[in-house]
Amino acid sequence: MTIALTHLQRLEAESIHIFREVAAAFAKPVMLYSVGKDSSVLMHLAMKAFYPAKPPFPFLHVDTTWKFREMIAFRDQMAQKLGFDLLVHVNEDGVRDNINPFDHGSNTHTHVMKTVALRQALDKYGFDAAFGGARRDEEKSRAKERIFSFRNAQHVWDPKNQRPEMWKIFNTRIASGESIRVFPLSNWTELDIWQYILQESIPIVPLYFAKERLVVERDGMLILRDDERMKLRPGEVAENRLVRFRTLGCYPLTGAIESEADTLEAIVGEMLTARTSERQGRLIDRDEAGSMEKKKREGYF
């Protein structure tokens, strides 16, 4: 008998294995749900891994208060449809200090509203393992990270001293206060993600599809002015353009691309001829050299 698994079947099996391992070995896992396409795939895999049961852990969204409104609507809709336990955490200290990407810059904003907020949430609930949707093909320091990535009690990643990770035998042991970040999509590429979304008909936020949207060109990026908090600078005009997003984050930090791709097939087709990486649309990665590694060491996903 020959039953050769397809590439996507193999990736799917690996991810499901990782989900189950965490559910079996940890006392209090959580899935970080960022509402983007990778999170959608992650959620779908979690549903598969534990079927007919529901995933035995809650989903946590760290809300920076600057996400696209469509993301929040989609998030609440998915939680209702799939019936998972959704936790939303906002860094109230940051809200009180009115931390925002315009006055404080993307670095400070991301640190306070995302990294610190995430640490707060993990400490608040005492989670000992947290799933994230990061992929190794996204960025150089991610390419170096283990699937089970150890964090000390201060949530710090020590990239120079990672635990060896042999075969599919994961070291799930931690001391009290320590935790593990787990990346079931480590070996997926951006193309795999889109292919899988297409194959499995996984719902994603409509912002990924091309549509006429009111955007402002700023610092070389097309920014969708999602609400009044974004003030136009002198000379800036918001204009309707046919755009879509390759990745989703905080709206002032996420650039749209001009595109006519309004179906999944067209998105995949576009990807195949893309000449830039998806993270190019992310302002936060360009702030300084090695910025992703620095953020990760501080506890960012």
């Binding site: 093909d137 150089k140 590694e293």
Partner: protein, 647 residues
């Protein structure tokens, strides 16, 4: 900055995308690693492969050009190594510290490549990359030839089950594309590796920096008629046909959402399964049939190696995580003693006798190395006698586990024959193991089921067994307190025995010295003896310096719950050295005695002892009162518990 405006208009129609994706799905996947010594050009080769197969986006290329000017080691040219050396420390030092995984595809195949570090210090990261690879590209600097790290990496690749090697003789441009140099290196490598069990060794003369024979044939090596690297990677067959092996299903997670459903979730390690198939629970030998293969999209008619599924059985039989469902015709070994190859990762050496946590894919148990048979010299494969295994060393060991585990020899099954060892205190992954075979004695000596059990023996003595484990520096007062304590217990009709460090070293442990390895073995033997005595119903008082918390923990885990009572005899070093009843401190401080606890060998104080005796300013009688009080309290509590909590 100019922005690329990407328009979907120019693309193939939707049908074209579907066709493309269908073709993608049929491609096979090859996982390989690059390894070899420092500066042999591993990262440069991967950068070259990514670049030549058009995997680098424009913004990444722009970043690479920026970085090359800042950190690069190639002058005006692009330094491809910076594509994979993703950590700041790596870029600053110009070395690879940890494995990076990169992904690329050609029209024929998909690839996951692990770029692994060459420094001996980071061998564990090379092993990490090798453990999931089917092929290794061993790079050799044509100017250097086969080096110690080339050999070490080849041996580790071989031990980890890699059967296909590409011998990349790199920097061939720097030796003038000289065929004689190439031939000599290839001959050296073939000689050295003939016993490593590689099925294919394909040597290719190469310049990763300039691309010779990487993706395109080089005009500089007319004498070479073999494939380019990419041609070989696209066509080499590495299938291990795990589907053909006997069915193995390590149970990872028991899925029980309600009383009506009980599924066993896991990834099929080998073979295949269909509803109606008979399966056997490896550890208990009980059998059942597969009723359903449950999946999210509906039940499956069959499932095979590599698939993550949930099985429902016909019968309600006891199976938990760590057990294995297997083919009744070809069962795995179930044993608590076996021999294995070990690669050691940790800066603290492997010590025979020390207790580690052994993890297979889903099982976990305590394990000790009972015998380090030999260490393998990576230069000449010589088997060398060794008392410990240092970081990055490879050895063959006998392993004893606390509970039996189910496995196959690693040579037969890479998934069910592997394990890792974890340090009990730091939780670090300290070693990786590949099982060779069961040890005969485990198969033949079964536990005798005895009717006269510990409880009966202890009841006859009208007491509860206990092991009082005294730990503390030499001269802290352990023996004095222990002797007085025993007299007191004896006077109240208790049956006792003292195991004293010095006395045991004259008999049972006369063959042991004071190295770390011998200290561990010393404690292990005493702990086992204490356990047997406890089993006989005795109250045992162990009076040993026992400086390492790992061994005290091992001793604790040997005893039944509540029977191990750690007593920290806490006397400050200065006081012990002042008392110096045997004159040992004076000699140790003079350098006449080596490995003396507290002087040049560490003492790890207990963090949570059951009883903490601070001796300064107290008499031995006061200490003994504390101990006796503690024992009486425990016995009263347990009697109450036995009779229903005293309600």
């Amino acid at each position: 900055m100019t922005m690329r405006h990407i328009m979907a208009k120019s693309l193939a129609p939707t049908d074209g995308v579907r066709d493309y994706l269908a073709a993608q799905e049929k491609k096979s996947l090859l996982r390989f690693l690059t390894c070899g010594s420092v500066d042999d050009g591993k990262s440069t080769l991967i950068g070259r492969l990514l670049s030549d197969t058009k995997q680098i986006f424009e913004d990444q290329l722009a970043a690479l050009e920026r970085d090359s000017r800042k950190h690069g080691t190639t002058g005006e040219d692009i330094d491809f190594a910076l594509l994979v050396d993703g950590l700041e420390a790596e870029r600053e030092q110009g070395i690879t510290i940890d494995v990076a995984y990169r992904f690329f595809a050609t029209p024929k195949r998909k690839f996951i490549v692990a770029d692994t570090p060459g420094h001996e210090q980071y061998t564990r990261n090379m092993a990490t990359g090798a453990s999931t690879a089917d092929l290794a590209i061993v790079l050799i600097d044509a100017r250097q030839g086969v080096l110690r790290q080339t050999r070490r990496h080849s041996i580790i690749a071989s031990l980890l089950g890699i059967r296909h090697i590409v011998l990349a003789v790199n920097k061939i441009d720097l030796v003038g594309f000289d065929q004689a140099v190439f031939d000599r290196i290839v001959e050296d490598y073939r000689q050295f590796s003939r016993d490593l069990g590689f099925q294919t060794i394909v040597p290719i003369p190469m310049s990763a920096r300039y691309g010779d024979n990487v993706t395109g044939r080089s005009g500089n090596t007319e004498w070479y008629s073999g494939p380019t690297l990419i041609e070989h990677l696209e066509t080499v067959s590495v299938d291990q046909a795990v589907v053909e092996l006997p069915f193995r299903f390590p149970v990872q997670y028991v899925n029980r959402p309600n009383l009506d459903f009980r599924g066993f979730a896991g990834t099929i390690a080998s073979g295949s399964v269909a509803p109606g198939d008979e399966v056997v629970v490896a550890k208990s030998g009980k059998s059942s049939r597969v009723k359903r293969i449950v999946s999210y999209g509906g039940d499956l008619a069959q499932a095979a190696a590599g698939q993550a599924v949930t099985l429902v059985l016909d019968d309600e039989i006891e199976i938990s995580r760590g057990n294995m469902l297997v083919s009744p015709a070809a069962r795995p070994q179930v044993a608590d003693q076996f021999a294995a190859n070990i690669v050691w990762f940790d800066e603290h050496a492997l010590l025979p006798g020390r207790s580690y946590i052994l993890r297979t894919e889903t099982d976990q148990t305590s394990a000790t190395v009972t015998d380090l048979k030999y260490r393998i010299n990576v230069n000449d494969f010589a088997h060398e006698a060794a008392k410990s295994l240092e970081m990055n060393e490879v050895g063959i060991c006998n392993i004893s586990t606390r509970t039996p585990t189910a496995f196959d020899p690693f040579a037969e099954n890479r998934t069910t024959g592997a394990f890792i060892l974890i340090d009990r205190i730091s939780n670090a992954t300290v070693g990786a193991g590949m099982i060779l075979h069961t040890l005969r004695r485990a198969e033949n000596i079964h536990w005798q089921s005895l009717d006269v059990v510990k409880r009966v023996r202890a009841d006859m003595k009208n007491q509860r067994p206990a092991v009082f484990w005294f730990t503390g520096l030499s001269g802290s007062g352990k023996s004095t307190i222990a002797n007085l304590f025993e007299k007191k217990l004896f006077a109240t009709g208790r049956h006792t025995y003292i195991l004293d460090g010095d006395n045991v070293r004259h008999g049972l442990n006369r063959d042991l010295g004071f190295t770390d390895a011998d200290r561990v073995e010393n404690i292990r033997r005493v702990a086992e003896v204490a356990r047997l005595m406890g089993d006989a119903g005795l109250i045992v008082i162990v009076s040993f310096i026992s400086p390492f918390s790992a061994e005290r923990r091992m001793a604790r885990e040997l005893m039944a719950d509540g029977e191990f009572i750690e007593v920290f005899v806490d006397t400050p070093f200065e006081e012990c050295a002042r008392r110096d009843p045997k004159g040992l401190y004076a000699r140790a401080l003079n350098g006449e005695i080596k490995n003396f606890t507290g002087v040049d060998s560490p003492y790890e104080a207990p963090e949570n002892p059951e009883i903490h005796l601070k001796t300064l300013g107290k008499s031995a009688e006061e200490m003994v009162d504390t101990l006796e009080h503690w024992l009486n309290e425990r016995d009263i509590a347990e009697d109450q518990y036995d009779s229903g909590g005293g309600i």
